[in-house]
């Protein structure tokens, strides 16, 4: 079914390129050609790799800090009241503003780029985890207290499994957000990465190159989602009785 879906996409693209002309939308073989050229020089893999490292770092940073803050805000009312206005501002701040400010304040550095991407993702992780923490079952907390579970055991076996769907949701939506933002950050202030190459292709009006990078990037995202994220989610929910 998935193969069919991909095939339909390629065919539609080919027909569209015949209709609008190869200059505006190059047909699949031209893009494949550009992809091969970039792959031969190694530039494709280098740029994809650099982008992936940026995604991984900012994702890890945002998830760790976001989970901790979200849990804390969900548990303590005072922290929630204090943090809420910050959260609303961060949630609604355009990604572009954060990225540009980060580059102005911290220079066109790697740290600035990763921090800017992480800050964009942070508030959604906080909000999701706060919701998850509020939904924790007090009955199970009481059970853990009665049976004198030590803190670590209670967190790992009672709290964490309840938060797992929320962490998975935050990871899922956060990853999607980061895929989108990382290219903007690279476009604006990095000398390598998929975003940078797309910027170059844009300036040269090199549409096959632009599509070559975009599609390789999309393919990587697709592979990570199906090979990593989905099996992980399935593993987390294996205790749930399956729907018939």
């Amino acid at each position: 079914m998935r193969l069919l879906s991909v095939a339909v996409f390629v065919v539609t693209w080919w027909i569209a390129s015949l209709l609008v002309g190869g200059a505006k939308l190059p047909p699949p073989p031209d893009v494949l050609q550009a992809m091969m050229t970039e792959a031969k020089t190694g530039a494709l893999f280098l740029n994809l790799g650099v982008t992936l490292v940026r995604v991984a770092l900012s994702f890890a940073l945002a998830m760790t800090i976001g989970t901790a803050i979200g849990y804390w805000m969900g548990r303590h009312r005072l922290a929630d009241r204090f943090g809420d206005p910050w959260l609303i501002i961060l949630l609604n701040l355009p990604a572009l503003v954060v990225i540009v400010l980060a580059y102005i304040w911290a220079g066109l550095t790697e740290a600035a780029a990763i921090a800017a991407i992480a800050i964009n993702k942070l508030p959604t992780a906080v909000v999701t985890l706060r919701e998850g923490t509020r939904a924790l079952d007090p009955a199970l907390d009481e059970m853990a207290r009665i049976f004198a579970f030590p803190r670590g055991r209670a967190f790992r076996h009672v709290v964490l499994p309840q938060l797992a769907p929320y962490i998975a949701a935050a990871a899922r939506s956060g990853l999607a957000l980061i895929w989108k933002i990382v290219l903007v950050a690279e476009f604006l202030g990095r000398p390598n990465g998929v975003g940078f190459e797309i910027g170059v292709a844009f300036q040269l009006f090199d549409i096959p190159l632009l599509l070559a990078y975009s599609l390789s990037f999309a393919a990587i995202v697709f592979a990570i989602e199906t090979l990593l994220v989905q099996p992980f989610e399935a593993r987390l929910s294996r205790w749930r009785p399956r729907a018939a």
Binding site: A139, R145, I146, F147, A148, R153, H157, W239, R240, P241
Partner: protein, 236 residues
Amino acid sequence: MRLEVDISGKQFANAAGERRQVLRNIAFTLEPGEVGVIVGPSGCGKTTLLRILTGLDGDYQGRVTRGPHTRIGMVFQEPRLLPWRTVEDNIRLAAPEVDTARLSALFAVLELSEHRSHFPGELSLGLARRVALARALAVEPDFLVLDEPLASLDEALAARLRSQIAALLEDRKITTLLVTHNLDDAVRLGDRLLLLSARPATILHALPIRIPRAARSDADIAGIRNEIARLNHANG
């Protein structure tokens, strides 16, 4: 463990901010190894009383003495198992030092052996209750608390579980507090009955049963029930 209870009052604030009295003048003592049964109408505050006695709720007037380092085993009204852990893991998490032979024996007595690796979501309520009971006993408690362990089971299942509980209590001599609204369960399982009034709950009668659990005939049980009915009548 000896349990001494002297609660003079407990209030709850409702959503509108009014404080309502839930418990009033509840005083009793359970000797080590004794099985106390609290009987009272639904909603009279029995669960609230249990929450105070187990230390979950510290907001009351009075005093509860349990002795230091009391290990509590509790069967809640809903089984409160961790749905993401297997039956065996649920028990081992609460009782990490339980040895395998003892655990197997416990599973055998409660007829749970074939459900060890099942998840709680795959169990019926009766089975889940038995797992909760196994968990409470596996910690080798000094104080065992059973909150309506037989509620919402059909009569045959309830009778089976009741006789299993009776055998386990006889065997282990743990200081136990059982809460029920079913007089029959109370009379069959308890050494000392505490009859509670409607809200605010207070002890109407404390009634020791001197005949040993195993020796209680149907006639004895009917006799005790009549005695309780007479007390209630004189009171009401």
